[in-house]
């Protein structure tokens, strides 16, 4: 009788999910986390403690904007995991795209949804000068750094020299300090990381702690969903550009050309890594810029976002048009091949997930998030000596 009861009980409990060796290798490739810090050779103050301090102050500094109205933290809010929760970002005016989180931003090789920048520091220049974001100028930024005694002192400590007479050179150095600070912004370990490490070590207890629903979602992610074709590696992104059928009309009659315009801007910019401000004398950091190809298919492509802290950074896609993780899963589950742009990814097919499978995939995606930003704002004192 007891045996019959046990058999009945086991029959009612679904078998624990198990992955084969190839699947375990695929899962292991999404770690370990966090990755080691590697300084950016194109930025001579990357990893420099004084530059990080200067950059942190500048990140929250409204005087870098026209009229002292906004700072970088207007759209990259620490308490919102370095994004703003809005559909489209608003600086001095509404912009065309969603504000991406700057957590883990150092791991990319192109910056911005369209990759118009090839370094984190050149990316930092764009919002300062964009009239819709911070609306400042090189001369305004340089004057501010030269006149404010505390900032002048911190600039000298970070760069080993007083601000240059060249407004543009000071603007670039301000951007390099901003980049040094942003390189320190990393998301924490997640339930997925604990599971991934347990799987690699063969730790049965650790494996058992990860929810079965997330395991089933992970199986879809690396299996029939093929999500890991683009969302690769520890940061869950290949850092490149794809057209996944997200409409690129900003409003009737106005389109966002995405990567196509991004490449044109990149190659026209004097702040790119082929230009005079790259601190890497070997120009080894400029390989991507030297060889990037502009093609018609780049029209409407946007950068593959990292999935780290995804649950904390809604809304989604380059234009923020999807409000929830479930809406993102539904997008890939129901997308119509007829609506894909002619140059869209040819492998994209509707996943046609069941209700239960959609919930599983959402559970997996949610497990890629930590408990929220550990960053605490500081009260900055003007006490540089």
């Amino acid at each position: 009788m007891r045996r019959a009861l046990l058999v009945a009980l086991f029959a009612a409990v679904p078998a624990a999910f198990a992955f084969n060796d190839a699947e375990i290798r695929a899962i292991a490739s999404h770690g370990p986390w966090p990755p080691a810090f590697r300084p950016d050779p194109s930025n001579r103050v990357s990893g420099n403690r004084d530059a990080i301090d200067l950059g942190e102050r500048l990140f929250f500094e409204r005087r870098l904007s026209a009229g002292g109205a906004v700072s970088c933290s207007r759209c990259h809010v620490p308490e919102r995991n370095w994004t703003d929760g809005e559909v489209r970002a608003r600086g001095l005016a509404l912009v065309d795209r969603n504000a991406p989180s700057v957590a883990n931003v150092r791991l990319g090789h192109w910056f911005g949804w369209d990759g118009a920048h090839d370094s984190l520091w050149s990316q930092a220049i764009r919002p300062i000068l964009d009239p819709r974001e911070m609306g400042a100028s090189a001369s305004q930024v340089a004057r501010f750094v030269r006149v404010d005694a505390d900032y002048t002192c911190r600039y000298r400590k970070a760069f080993g020299a007083p601000p240059s007479p060249s407004d543009e050179a000071v603007l670039v150095d301000v951007a390099k300090a901003l980049a040094a600070f942003q390189e320190t912004l990393a998301s924490g370990r997640t339930p997925f990381d604990e599971y991934r490490d347990a799987l690699v070590k063969g730790d049965a207890k650790g494996i058992a702690r990860y929810p079965e629903t997330a395991k089933r979602g992970l199986a879809i992610f690396i299996g029939r969903g093929s999500c890991n074709v683009c969302h690769i590696g520890p940061a869950f992104t290949n850092g490149e550009f794809h057209d996944t059928g997200v409409p690129f009309f900003i409003e009737p009659g106005r389109v966002d050309p995405g990567r196509y315009e991004g490449i044109r801007k990149l190659l026209a910019s004097r702040f790119n890594l082929l230009g005079p401000y790259n601190d890497d004398a070997t120009r080894g950091t400029a390989t991507g810029t030297r060889h990037v190809a502009l093609e018609h298919r780049n029209f409407g492509e946007f950068k593959t976002p990292s999935l780290r802290n995804l649950a904390l950074t809604a809304p989604y896609m380059h234009n923020g048009r999807l409000a929830t993780l479930r809406a993102v899963v539904d997008h890939y589950s129901t997308l119509s091949p007829d609506r894909l742009h002619s140059d869209g990814e040819a492998i994209l097919k509707p996943l046609r997930l069941s209700e239960a499978e959609s919930r599983d995939l959402v559970a997996f995606l949610a497990s890629l998030s930590d408990g929220g930003s550990a960053y605490r704002r500081k009260a900055f004192a003007a006490d540089c000596r």
Partner: protein, 128 residues
Amino acid sequence: MMRWLVGAALVAHLAAAPAAPACDLPGGSAQKLQSGAHTVLFRTAPLKVGEHFAVDFAVCPPPESVRVDAWMPEHRHGMNYRPEVRALGGGRYRAEGLMLHMGGNWELVFEVRSGGKTERLTHRMQLE
């Protein structure tokens, strides 16, 4: 007797003719592709998705020109980068600036042009 002499003369002629230079790529083991008119020997560092890499290769006999590219047949697109090929002399070359930005099946393609004809030599590979 006469037939034997002709045969001996032919052997002598072949022995005196310069041997076709062996197609080689110094510096380690290489993979080989063969077409009707050309042999390509090539070598890369281990490939990883999302990392730039170079291809060292030799083409025998040396062609008028050669291009290198990579293509994902199932996806119907190539790379996001345009490699540059540098001739190193003696039929040896180095292609720089390649990057395979997605996992899956790729074809590494050598387009070799000689005598007004272009041949495509293709190496298939799978990236995890």
